[in-house]
Each structure stands twice: as structure tokens, then as C-alpha cells.
């Protein structure tokens, strides 16, 4: 079944959905970027390709309180701060971000199950938006993601000819749209097919269209010992920008904060790019940025595929291509690891 709603009426749709669930959607910001916000009346859906931070925040937030300890004399009282999530909708995530949830699921939903992640996943309905205007930094197709006809999520959506088309992919998606009530009308698939075709034509012309990650599962040690890491990492600043905007990065740290009235234990994102990521009492085994840098890409391109049937821990969203202060990124690494050197250099500017 396919539904549609005029783009001018989107507020009615969001209002209807908001009656039972909180709706989050990408919205434009003053600085020319977009980020997910909670819908309130008048919040418009952004046309930007992607948000600064990925949609993983909904399930794996940057900071999450876990427990509180209070001490009274000799007694210690412990409160579990994890809560059951409420129902919510992520409206307009891109296919790459939605695919990242699968990558996170393999980690957080495996035994032992991360219950906070799980409750959030269960309570979320995801509307995946097709990418009307892919950009040069996009390479999701390298990971078999189809932004022209997103396969993941509960509902797939298109914006075309002044309408937003919605197609439920799951039962949850059907229920969600059923809850939208009157404002949706049924539609045939002609416009959607045309839009998907238009997008596919663009995808073929993407500068990174031919990028394919090498399957290096058999060559784990060769890749690990490659002399190229030294050079690739040589100018990495060791910040965590790539990690924190990455939809698939999943490392975290657990810390205690002493408020004076008690201690709050929380977990927060961490980055393997940081020099103290693996710091132990005996020091850190990853002594230089080369080891840290290598770890991040080995994880995404070799270790994760080894562990999970050749699936890469990258969805080609291109955020790290945009946000790295020195423009070192996974695409350059993938090219190096398949022996391809970036082209287009050395000409007179």
C-alpha cells in the first residue's frame, strides 16, 4: 500500500502522529546544517541530505545515566536510572542511518542484551526517506544500500512532485500510518518509481560510485601490518569528530560523577581515536596515533566483517568525509587498502 500527503500539509501528519508518539525529524538550523529535533507545530522537515549527528543518538545517546549511589552512614542505596522508553517516531532518517541500526543491533542486542538500547529500539518507529539529492560524499551503495528505494525501516518515504509518499515496510509501519488517520490519501506507485529511477541515475554518476570495500577477512594480519597505516595516520589529530558523527561507532566509557549528594554512574561515547581510550593501570597498549587510527578502520573494515559474515561497519553516509578537520577519512583508507591512490592531485590550481 502506498499513501501520500501534500508537502504543504506535513504539519497535519506530524500532529496526528504526535498524538500518540513523540515525533523526531531533521530540521534546518541557522548555521545551514540540520539536526534531529522533536516536532512541535511548525517544525519543517529539512531537505538537507543528512544531519550533523547521526540517528544512532536515538538508541545510543551520547550520555546515559545508569545508576545512582547514595551513602548514608554505613548504608549504600543504589537506584537504577535506566527507564522503559516511550513510543517515538524517527521521521525522515536516510537509508544509510537506518542501516546503521542493524550494525548496532548486532552488538547491543547480542547477549548480554543492552536493555536501554533494546527498549529504545522496540519503541521506535522509523520512517526512512529516500535521498532526492545524493552528494559527492555519499558511498552507501558500496555497502549495498539503496537510497533510491530504502529497504530498511518501518516506512519508506519519498518527496516528489510536491507530495510526500509513504510506504509501510513492516507491521509497525502499517500501524503507524494507520494512526495518522485522515490526512493520508492512497496513491499509486508511478511517482515513486519515477523518483527512484531519477535517483538511481544520479547514484551512477557519484564520484564514489565505483568504490567497493575490499574483503580483507582472509588478510587480517597483512592489513594490520600494512606499512600504509603509518602514513595515513601521520597527521591525524586524535580528535573524536569522525567517531562522534559516525552512525556505526559504538564505543563507550562508563564514569562516575560525585554530585556531593550521591554518585551518578553514567555511560558516554568514547572514541578509539583518543590517546587514553585503552589506558589501563599499566599504561596504554596503543602508544601512538597510528595504532589508534588503525584500530578504528580495522574495526570497521576487517574485524567487524570477520565477526559478522562480511558485513562492514560503515554505511557510507559521508559524515566523516565532511567533518574530519584534516580530511582524512574511511574512503581514503579503503582506497589505500585496495591499493588505489586518490586521484586528481598534482595539477596546477
Amino acid at each position: 500500500m502506498l499513501y501520500r500527503i501534500s508537502c504543504t500539509e506535513m504539519d497535519a501528519l506530524f500532529a496526528a502522529l504526535s498524538e500518540t508518539k513523540t515525533v523526531y525529524l531533521p530540521a534546518d538550523r541557522e548555521d545551514g546544517q540540520a539536526s534531529f529535533v522533536k516536532w512541535t507545530e511548525g517544525t519543517a522537515l529539512s531537505n538537507r541530505l543528512n544531519t550533523v549527528r547521526s540517528a544512532k543518538d536515538f538508541f545510543f545517546p551520547q550520555i546515559q545515566p545508569l545508576a545512582r549511589f547514595r551513602r548514608e552512614g554505613q548504608k549504600i542505596e543504589i537506584t537504577d536510572l535506566r527507564e522503559e522508553s516511550e513510543d517515538f517516531v524517527i521521521f525522515g532518517a536516510r537509508a544509510c542511518d537506518v542501516r546503521s541500526f542493524e550494525i548496532l543491533d548486532r552488538v547491543f542486542l547480542a547477549d548480554p542484551v543492552d536493555t536501554s538500547y533494546q527498549t529504545r529500539r522496540e519503541h521506535a518507529a522509523i520512517v526512512t526517506m529516500a535521498c532526492a539529492r545524493p552528494e559527492e560524499t555519499c558511498f552507501c551503495t558500496a555497502f549495498d544500500i539503496d537510497p533510491a528505494k530504502p529497504a530498511d525501516g518501518d516506512v519508506r518515504a519519498y518527496i516528489a512532485d510536491g507530495y510526500c509518499y509513504l510506504e509501510p515496510l513492516t507491521e509497525k509501519g502499517e500501524t503507524l500510518l494507520a494512526g495518522a488517520g485522515e490526512c493520508l490519501e492512497e496513491s499509486d506507485g508511478a511517482a515513486v518509481e519515477a523518483e527512484a529511477g531519477r535517483i538511481r541515475a544520479i547514484l551512477e554518476k557519484l564520484p564514489l560510485a565505483s568504490l567497493k570495500p575490499a574483503d580483507n577477512r582472509e588478510k587480517e594480519l597483512d592489513v594490520f601490518n600494512s606499512p600504509k597505516w603509518e602514513e595515513m595516520a601521520s597527521h591525524c589529530l586524535g580528535c573524536g569528530a569522525c567517531t562522534f558523527v559516525c552512525p556505526t561507532c559504538q564505543c563507550f566509557d562508563i564514569n562516575d560523577f560525585d554530585s556531593g549528594h550521591g554518585i551518578e554512574r553514567y555511560r558516554c561515547w568514547d572514541s578509539c581515536m583518543y590517546h587514553d581510550f585503552t589506558l589501563m593501570a599499566s599504561g596504554t597498549p596503543r602508544l601512538t596515533q597510528k595504532e589508534r587510527f588503525r584500530q578504528r578502520f580495522m574495526h570497521k573494515l576487517v574485524y567487524y566483517p570477520i565477526r559478522y559474515d562480511g558485513v562492514f561497519s560503515c554505511v557510507g553516509c559521508g559524515r566523516c568525509l565532511r567533518k574530519c578537520p584534516i580530511n582524512m577519512n574511511i574512503v581514503k583508507v579503503m582506497k589505500e587498502l585496495t591499493g588505489v591512490r586518490p586521484a586528481g592531485a598534482g595539477e596546477e590550481a
Binding site: P134, H235, C239, G240, V245, K323, I326, P342, G346, A349
Partner: protein, 325 residues
């Protein structure tokens, strides 16, 4: 320009003046430049680039590079030379291990500004007489360069190279009316409440990726207080909006008097937080309260944060003379 730089670097490598060259390497698109060290003519010819996107301040890399044996050639833009001097002052760069070539810069383009204008799918960029001709998958666009320059370049404090062994291109002057404090002044004129909500809005976007800190040529601590569990400030991510402010206040404070206003912090911020305004506030205060001071102008200067005068320094209550609460 790029040709000249490559030729000169090849000469200096060939005659043994330098052993390595620190410069910029081309990426996959026109704009994704990466700092790199080149060791032979082949690498230079193949990958060295100098264009309107070579924004990286290379001076911080010279801390590590100048520790190594031999001499490294570094191409420094005017703003980078200030950072270089400051790092020499702080004994972080071994001056004798660096051969500095000052390179002309009339301002670098900000790809984020192109994107903010809705220009996407960028596949190539050319500069033709002040216009940026952007090739995209969706057609070509032409934009005046000065409309999409990095903010820091629009308020450039100086086009003068304060240190170099040789220059390629013209040396400029200190810009007297850079207007770089305009935004600080605008904020100062607001009420405290307005300022508070301005900063709350900006800083709440911080994701603590530490890009600002790690790119900063003044942040050269062996171990930052924010990474040190013993400091009482260690923190990975802001749990409360207090911590966002704490991080940025302390960071700005720690670099006060040493910050040359190179603007790298704001350039690299993935969330576009105008972090340079914090540093500029300190610079403006130094200028107004303790006399004009430009970090990195001369090597060996003492930071106004370490200095004092017995009678001329105003009391701290001078702060209260500012805007309304």
C-alpha cells in the same frame, strides 16, 4: 602559486637544505586537503597542492616534526606564522630544525558555506578572478570567493608573515580595521541574559569531539586536564550544560595570552560553534585592559596572563562596568 611552491620545495630538497617538506596533499574532491609530509620530488609532483582550500594551520605539526633529525620545510600562511612564533616562544618548536617559507594567502574558502548555500554534490572548484566556480553533479555554480570565505579570513588580522626564512608571493600588512571584534562587541552590548541564551544555544550543540582542542596550536599539553583523571576535570562528554561551558571556558582560559586567533577551532567544529569568539573576548580584554598584545607577533614575548603592573592594572570590578545583567 602551487607550481612555484613545488619547484622551490624540490630545489631545497635537492640541495640538501631540507630533508622533508610539510605541506598540503590533495584529496578526492577539490576541497578535502590533508596536511602531509613529502620526502621527494615524485611525491610533491603527484600530491602536493596549494589552493583556496588549504586552510590547515601547519604550525602545530612542527612540534613533532622539529623533534626529528634533520630539517623540515614548512609552508606557512601569514596566520600560521603567528602560531609558529608562539610555539617557538613556548619552546615547543625547535626553530633551527625548520625552514619556513611564508606563502601568500588572500583568504581560504569554506566548503561548509558553499553547502549552506545549498550547493551540493561538489566535484570540482576553480577560482577565476575572485569568483569561485563550483562544478557540481547538479550543474555549475559561481560564487564570489569573499562571500564563502572562512569567517576567520573575512576578519583577517594580518596578512603579514611575522617569521620566515623566505617568502613566496607578496607579504601583506597587519590589518588595522579587521573588524574581528565586532561580534564580541555585539555580544557585550547584549544583556547578560541574552548573552547567556546565545551561548547556551551555541554550546549545547557541542559533542565534545575535541576537534577544537586537538587542532589548536596553543593546546599542546602533554596531557590535557580534561583527559586527566587526577585533575578533577576529566570528562568525556557533557552530561549537564554546565560541563559544556566548563570545557570551553577552561580551554579558552588556558590558551588566553597564547592564542594567536588563528581560528582553527571554529573552522573544524563539526557543529559550527563560534568558539573563536571566546578567544577573541580574551584578546580584546587584554588589548583594552593591559595594552595591545598580539600573541606570536614576536617570539619570546611574555603572555599578558603572566605579566602584571602594580598600579596600571584595573581592579577586577572593571568587569561590572560591562553590559546590563
Amino acid at each position: 602559486m602551487q607550481r612555484e611552491l613545488i619547484n622551490r620545495a624540490r630545489e631545497l630538497l635537492a640541495d640538501g637544505t631540507v630533508d622533508r617538506v610539510l605541506g598540503w596533499q590533495a584529496g578526492q574532491f577539490a576541497y578535502d586537503i590533508t596536511p602531509a609530509v613529502f620526502t621527494d620530488a615524485g611525491e610533491l609532483e603527484a600530491h602536493f597542492v596549494y589552493n583556496e582550500f588549504c586552510a590547515d594551520n601547519l604550525s602545530k605539526y612542527l612540534i613533532k616534526e622539529s623533534e626529528k633529525e634533520g630539517k623540515v620545510l614548512a609552508f606557512l600562511k601569514p596566520c600560521d606564522t603567528y602560531s609558529f612564533n608562539q610555539l617557538v616562544t613556548e619552546h615547543r618548536i625547535r626553530r633551527e630544525h625548520v625552514y619556513v617559507i611564508g606563502v601568500e594567502s588572500y583568504g581560504k574558502a569554506d566548503v561548509e558555506k558553499l553547502r549552506a548555500r545549498g550547493i551540493s554534490g561538489i566535484t570540482g572548484v576553480e577560482t577565476v578572478s575572485g569568483m569561485l566556480k563550483v562544478h557540481t553533479m547538479y550543474g555549475d555554480e559561481s560564487v564570489p570567493l569573499n562571500e564563502v570565505m572562512l569567517d576567520r579570513c573575512l576578519t583577517c588580522k594580518s596578512k603579514k608573515h611575522v617569521v620566515y626564512d623566505e617568502l613566496i608571493g607578496e607579504d601583506g600588512d597587519v590589518v588595522a580595521d579587521s573588524g574581528r571584534f565586532d561580534m564580541v562587541e555585539k555580544l557585550e552590548r547584549m544583556t547578560a541574559k541574552e548573552r547567556f541564551s546565545f551561548w547556551q544555544g551555541e554550546l549545547s550543540r557541542c559533542i565534545r569531539c575535541n576537534a577544537c582542542r586537538n587542532v589548536c596550536p596553543a593546546c599542546t599539553c602533554e596531557n590535557c586536564v580534561f583527559d586527566n583523571p587526577g585533575s578533577g576535570l576529566q570528562n568525556r562528554a557533557a552530561r549537564d550544560n554546565f560541563e559544556e561551558k566548563l570545557f570551553h571556558i577552561i580551554r579558552a582560559y588556558h590558551v588566553a595570552g597564547r592564542c594567536t586567533d588563528c581560528g582553527e577551532c571554529s573552522r573544524v567544529c563539526p557543529e559550527h560553534i563560534p568558539l573563536h569568539l571566546l578567544n577573541r573576548k580574551f584578546i580584546k580584554d587584554f588589548n583594552e585592559l593591559y595594552g595591545p598584545f598580539q600573541a606570536g607577533e614576536v617570539s619570546g614575548q611574555m603572555s599578558p596572563m603572566c605579566a602584571y603592573t602594580e598600579t596600571a592594572d584595573p581592579e577586577a570590578s572593571v568587569v561590572r562596568k560591562g553590559g546590563a545583567e
